[in-house]
Amino acid sequence: MTRYFTQDHEWIEIDGQTGTVGITDYAQSQLGDITFVELPEPGTTVRKGDAPCVVDSVKAASDVYAPVSGTVSESNAALADEPELVNTSAEVGGWLFRLTLSDPTELGGLMDRAAYDAFVEGL
């Protein structure tokens, strides 16, 4: 499985045609305490750059963009009762939603881990 990153601090992990999307640990550290996550319904069609998900922290609500286009197949039900999973486990248990990719070539425009780490280092 391969994981890619965006300049907007989302990650997407690819397993065949399915991508699991979350925000990075850096992103959660910037947002602070997360109190609510508005998740997309399965079946929702999203285009790369759409904002199908919103993460609420104590101080602000932040859009989460789709790193690539596709159809939402699942969202992380555990976040309804435990939105703080996005703080404690942003890149594992705090995943947000899964997509069935409609155009895997879009992955070519994303960063790998090393490039993302360098990007964050430069912020």
């Binding site: 907007d8 305490d33 109190t35 609510f36 919103v54 609420d56 104590v58 101080k59 609500a61």
Partner: protein, 380 residues
């Protein structure tokens, strides 16, 4: 991911040079995340907003509010002149007792809210950081030449808030009397870390606590001394906002503005019987009429179910009718659900009324509740 919905106090500041406060290096050394606010770099959080919020409600938190404007108005004619600018009653204001007042425009709109204390050296005012330069201009214009306005720009302002604040401060403050003997809304001169300071028992969290005005060059030593007390941790602006929201206290620029009047804002208590009788302050015609006849809309508290917060600008509905707008909102760490302040048509403002708030295309149920959301625990 992006902070699309964040209330942007930073927008204007972005275009100007961002200034630093006396404790800038101190905050960074404590691990604070610094943000731009009211034209300054300020600490938004250290350990995390919820942890800091909960700590302040249980123990004591130290807040740096040195961005606020500290002013001194003096001269024989100062009291009479201030009464023409503010709806305050200085004839019946005891020395050293801070009182809440409002800077109003001629139409009764709120230009700022402030605290005023009669001291030996004059009238000491604390005004909001984002409005202080406008306030100074407004006051210089309104006050006669024989009244002196000094901006105490060489002073810092700290707030120590929480149920353990008195015990912590008592251990380190010396003076003619014990700091713990002050009651809510009383103040006086004390010494802290060898430095003369002015302490009042007041604050912006709903908790017992103190506000400490001190020379800026002593701020780091005093902050170190206070944070060395086991009850005390530094607290950022994020928790300051969530604490004041739970306490139902309005924030200027959000819940108060030139578009809101004191009576709409629920601040009629700031205009006492004498000033209601005499008038003679800016906007008196409107304010006195609203006190007598009521207002069409008013500031209310709303409690939301679930976890999704409503933020400033969200529209409030009663059935399908637009009846108001949220002016501040967020998740309440103490209550475990979101809360909001809103202006709402008076017909739908009674506690218990069921309303709805529109957030990103969805209607969230919200119930009108009386303020404060979390009971005040002042030392009266």
């Amino acid at each position: 991911m992006s902070d699309t919905y964040e209330n942007s106090d930073e927008t204007l500041a972005d275009e100007l040079e961002v200034l630093t406060l006396p404790l800038d290096a101190w905050h960074r050394a404590q691990g604070a995340r610094m943000v731009q606010f009211a034209g300054y770099w300020m600490p938004v959080q250290y350990d995390g907003i919820i942890a800091e919020h909960v700590w302040t409600r249980a123990h004591a938190g130290l807040f740096d509010v040195s961005h606020m404007g500290q002013l001194l108005v003096s001269g024989d004619a100062a009291a009479a002149a201030l009464e023409t600018v503010l709806p305050i009653d200085l004839a019946n204001l005891a020395p050293a007792a801070p009182r809440y007042s409002l800077l109003l425009d001629d139409a009764g709109g709120i230009l700022d809210d402030l605290m005023l204390t009669r001291r030996n050296d004059g009238f000491y005012l604390v005004v909001n950081g984002a409005t202080k330069w406008d306030d100074i201009g407004h006051l210089r214009e309104a006050l006669p030449d024989d009244v002196t306005l000094n901006h105490l720009a060489d002073h810092a302002l700290l707030a120590l808030q929480g149920p353990a604040a008195a015990a912590a401060l008592e251990r380190v403050a010396t003076g003619d009397r014990a700091v713990a003997d002050l009651r809510f809304m009383q103040g006086g001169p004390f010494t802290l870390a060898g430095v003369p300071v002015w302490i009042s028992r007041s604050g912006y969290t709903g908790e017992d606590g103190f506000e400490i005005s001190l020379p800026a060059d002593a701020a780091a030593a005093v902050a170190d001394l206070l944070c060395a007390q086991p009850e005390v941790k530094p607290i950022g602006l994020g928790a300051r906002d969530s604490l004041r929201l739970e306490a139902g206290l309005p924030l200027y620029g959000h819940d108060l503005s030139p578009e809101t009047s004191p009576v709409e804002a629920g601040l009629g208590f700031a205009i006492n019987r004498r000033r209601r009788a005499t008038g003679g302050f800016p906007g008196a015609e409107r304010v006195l009429s609203e006190l007598a006849h009521g207002v069409g809309r008013q500031r209310i508290g709303l409690a939301l179910e679930g976890r999704q917060a409503a933020r400033e600008g969200a529209k409030v509905y009663h059935e399908n009718k637009l009846v108001g707008e949220v002016t501040s909102g967020g998740f309440s760490p103490s209550l475990g659900h979101p809360i909001a302040l809103a202006y709402c048509a008076s017909a739908h403002a009674a506690p218990g009324t069921q309303l709805e708030i529109e957030v990103r295309g969805k209607r969230l149920p919200a119930r009108v509740v009386s303020l404060p959301f979390v009971p005040h625990r002042y030392h009266r």
